[in-house]
Amino acid sequence: MSTANRETPSPTAGRAGMKKELPEQFKDYRHVWVFIELERGQVHPVSFELLGEGRKLADKLGVELAAVVLGPPGEATWHAVAEAFAYGADLAYVIEDPLLAHYRNEPFTRAMTDLLNTYKPEILLLGATTLGRDLAGSVATTLLTGLTADCTALDVDADGSLAATRPTFGGSLLCTIYTLNYRPQMATVRPRVMAMPQRVDKPVGRVIQHKLAMAEEDVVTKILGFLPDNQSAKANLAYANVVVAGGLGLGAVENLQLVKNLARAIGAEYGCSRPLVQKGWMPADRQIGQTGKTIRPKLYIAVGISGAIQHRVGVEGADLIVAINTDPNAPIFDFAHLGIVIDAIRFLPALTEAFTRRLSPHNRDKLAS
């Protein structure tokens, strides 16, 4: 239902080239904010990744980096505040309220829009999680400001505007989007797109506390329960150290077993490219790419994946990308570090066996002695 893909790119480019004159009521909007996503006592790691990115933007602009922590009264909220400082925040805006114990759209939208209208930041970053996307859409529409979703790069240009880059046209091209005449400039970024910054122990700095102007009876939606995911069955691709994924080059659904066998042998998570999900070969939570999971493993092995841009943007953060593909001209070889042109269906059993041989404790002991 969205139209980030404009029908007429040329006039937009023309308009963006026009001289920018920020309306008077937005001229006092300053500083960079990052929303800290706190759920069931845990801060989502994407919030720290965004603090790292927000730090760079704030330093370029010569302004402060603030963390926004919305949570229930008590320890978890203050732990999140402390962590935000450790990951680079200069100050924190905090609303403690029982209504903010678990995410619901109404109290969180209210809390966030009140803070934004009161303290007026120029930039607000949120994680593109289910929570962050639910909240960002409501907040941006309430404030009638621009929101760029699922950015893959953030920068500030010479006149201090946020330049937010994201894939477009189904991930076949990238575009850079500006919010010229409105504030705050809002952007969401998916988990693992930005690198995790270094954590440095720091005392808690300046904290500005705010009250939530809402009572439970004002909130229509009630939480009846929460069913945590079965952790063992659930793919944790985004934060896995080693990932093996298959694509259309596998040819048949049975051949996915070869990918799973390799993954098991090296203790990797397994996943796939978008077409396999569309074919129903794998569940959507194992899809890797712009519309699936973004990964940053130490090792990524792509098997029979051609490497469309929408896949590429989801894996580029990997330390080492290995591509196995029959087509020497497949675009995956343009961004993989290591490649082998071979029929994966023949090669994978040999590779699995070779890894097992090399990694088995028995052989390692022999090598060491």
Partner: protein, 283 residues
């Protein structure tokens, strides 16, 4: 009950090509489809109608050719289709899109009965923002239920709805009130084939076509490019890495040797990995 389902006609992304020289999208000949995520919303709406009675109206904003997507939705069993089409909508970002659609939904409500539920898909496959659904909810002051995996119950007399909502790390069970906006999670149902009767009816059906004025939109500055706070400044292809992948030489080698070569190359580049893999996997 009356249910409105917002759908979008999108290019079949599997067949999009980028012109190698001009970096523009080659749209010619690319077939269009209903955004696949929207089909989960449509099927859920049809099931609710079948269970509770009432009507399903499908709504889209787009060029005149988006009529094809609406007609397809009618073949699945939707009762009515509305096409919002006007050159003033060209270049809409998510905020301008949610404005136009919310105005059209209000007009649909006035004309055909107020909706109890407005559905959208989770996101589109071309824009991928997932922001228009929440935008519509906010503008129409509807309760917002995103990423819904299951509608557990609806009580039309009490205006109550309970749903299971995908959230980070688990499913939330939520009780909320009608009217509401639901964005439906993928994989939650399968679109029906549609009956022969529906196919015949779809072919005969008159699709309601509204311009901005027909939909009651007076303030055109909130539409299209003018109504969009975001501006696309640059569209470009990503730069390639300076060097292509280092290739393992496959001439005259057994599979076993090639596997050993590849593993050696991996550990040469990332020496720390070997210890890590041996701990996690191996054995």
């Amino acid at each position: 009950m009356h249910i409105v389902v917002c759908i979008k006609q999108v290019p079949d992304s599997a067949q999009i090509r980028v012109h190698p020289v001009t970096n523009t999208i080659m749209r010619q000949g690319v077939p269009t489809i209903i955004n696949p995520y929207d089909l989960f919303a449509l099927e859920e709406a049809l099931r609710l109608r079948d269970a509770h009675g009432g009507e399903v109206t499908v709504l889209t904003m787009g060029p005149p050719m988006a009529e094809d997507a609406l007609r397809k939705a009618l073949t699945y069993g939707a009762d009515r289709a509305v096409l919002l089409t006007d050159r003033y909508f060209a270049g809409s970002d998510t905020l301008a899109t949610s404005f136009a659609l919310s105005q059209a939904i209000a007009k649909v409500g006035e004309t055909f009965g107020m909706p109890d539920i407005v559905f959208t898909g989770k996101q589109t496959i071309d824009g991928d923002t997932a922001q228009v659904g929440p935008g519509i909810a906010k503008r129409l002051d509807l309760l917002q239920l995103t990423y819904v995996a299951k509608i557990a119950s609806i009580d039309l007399d009490a205006h109550e709805i309970t749903v299971e909502r995908r959230s980070e790390g688990g499913m939330q069970m939520l009780k909320s009130r009608l009217p509401c906006l639901i964005t439906m999670l993928e994989g939650t149902n399968e679109i029906r084939r549609g009956s022969l009767d529906d196919a015949l009816r779809a072919a005969r059906s008159q699709i309601v076509k509204w311009s901005a004025a027909d939909a009651g939109i007076e303030d055109l500055t909130k539409c299209g490019l003018r109504g969009s706070p975001t501006v696309v400044k640059r569209v470009f292809a990503p730069t390639s890495r300076a060097e292509k992948a280092a290739q393992i030489d496959t001439t005259d080698k057994s599979l076993r040797d090639l596997a050993d070569d590849l593993i050696a190359a991996i550990f040469t580049r990332q020496p720390a990995l070997e210890q890590e893999l041996a701990v996690d996997g191996g054995a």
